[in-house]
Assembly symmetry: C2
Homo-oligomer: 78 residues x 2
């Protein structure tokens, strides 16, 4: 059974790199990946924040936030 992994980003170079190296490289037999651009989908910022996301790029998997390096603070996207 695949779990869901949500990848939040904001189009920044560090985000694009993380998307290429992780979001596109997770095993599709393990994760169903959803990619969310928080600069464009500002209505999803609160859901990311509620899961503990402080900055992008970040994944939320099983309700836990995983920040990959640092591209932009969530606060800067509001």
């Amino acid at each position: 059974m695949t779990s869901k992994a949500v990848f939040y980003h904001a189009g920044c170079p560090i985000c694009v790199d993380a998307e290429r190296q992780f979001a596109e490289k997770l095993d599709p037999r393990q994760y169903q990946v959803e990619i969310v651009h928080l600069g464009q989908a500002k209505n999803r910022i609160s859901e990311a924040e509620a899961a503990g996301v402080k900055s992008v790029p970040a994944f939320v998997i099983d309700g836990h936030a995983y920040h990959i390096n640092f591209g932009a603070a969530l606060d800067a996207l509001k």
Copy 2:
């Protein structure tokens, strides 16, 4: 063709979680993953450091460091 992804950790809870959620979930058709415990393989700390790793857990892929959250500073493992 698979690329190599090296996952550096130190056995900390955040490391173990990142290993489970990322190192074990990358698509084996895309990456060949090597898992390195820097607490046990201290001779590999310098190679991680040279690739830009500042803390664990972290991946090095194509010479770039990707830190996932923060478990322990590399300096604390020396």
